[in-house]
């Protein structure tokens, strides 16, 4: 079965510190990977996708096929980054989401 794992349920960092949210996937083909975010009392929304190679709100994510990872990084965390983050994998005709990591940025 295709799986997406996010090993940390909760990640707490101080404002201004670097943050890395881990995502690993298992898929033998060419993956399409996404990061979705859910801020408090808001809907789940797309943060970024690997094919776009974009930086959104200071976040970047690089696909590492050798390590089957798609970690989300930001050099300087802000308090408004506090949210639930979900890594997602598209394959065939299915989307698989990871269990999510709650990021808490402390003042």
């Amino acid at each position: 079965a295709q799986r997406v794992t996010q090993p940390e349920k909760l990640l707490s960092v101080f404002k201004g510190a670097p943050v890395e949210l881990k995502c690993n996937y298992s898929y033998s083909g060419s993956p399409e990977l996404f990061w979705y975010v859910q801020y408090s009392r808001q809907r789940l929304q797309l943060l970024l996708r690997h094919i776009s190679r974009e930086s959104i709100k200071g976040f970047t994510a690089d696909l590492n096929k050798g390590e089957t990872s798609f970690h989300l990084k930001k050099p300087f965390a802000q308090e408004e980054d506090s949210a639930m983050y979900y890594c997602a994998l598209y394959y065939g005709q299915n989307f698989v989401f990871g269990p999510g990591t709650r990021l808490s940025v402390l003042p």
């Binding site: 809907r43 929304q45 797309l46 979900y86 997602a88 598209y90 005709q93 698989v96 999510g100």
Partner: protein, 113 residues
Amino acid sequence: DAGITQSPRYKITETGRQVTLMCHQTWSHSYMFWYRQDLGHGLRLIYYSAAADITDKGEVPDGYVVSRSKTENFPLTLESATRSQTSVYFCASSVSFTSTEQFFGPGTRLTVL
């Protein structure tokens, strides 16, 4: 921004009852999706639809039925609710299945007693 709405937002029902969760989108997106969210599992795809009258199973379709008679609506029915179907259900829509953003509804919290 009411592009995609779900109703009801909260529902309590009993084992064995039929329950229908509604999803409506105003963007004329071709694709619509139903997910369930459970602690420790993230979101799991139940069913999706590529267009009106075209539906297909996702990862966890058992116990659910969908229909799509109109592009804008994608109801999800639990024909005989079970306690294991207690969950938060999210509807989403997108222009296509892959490489594009899915827009999510606010969710429906369903409790089966």
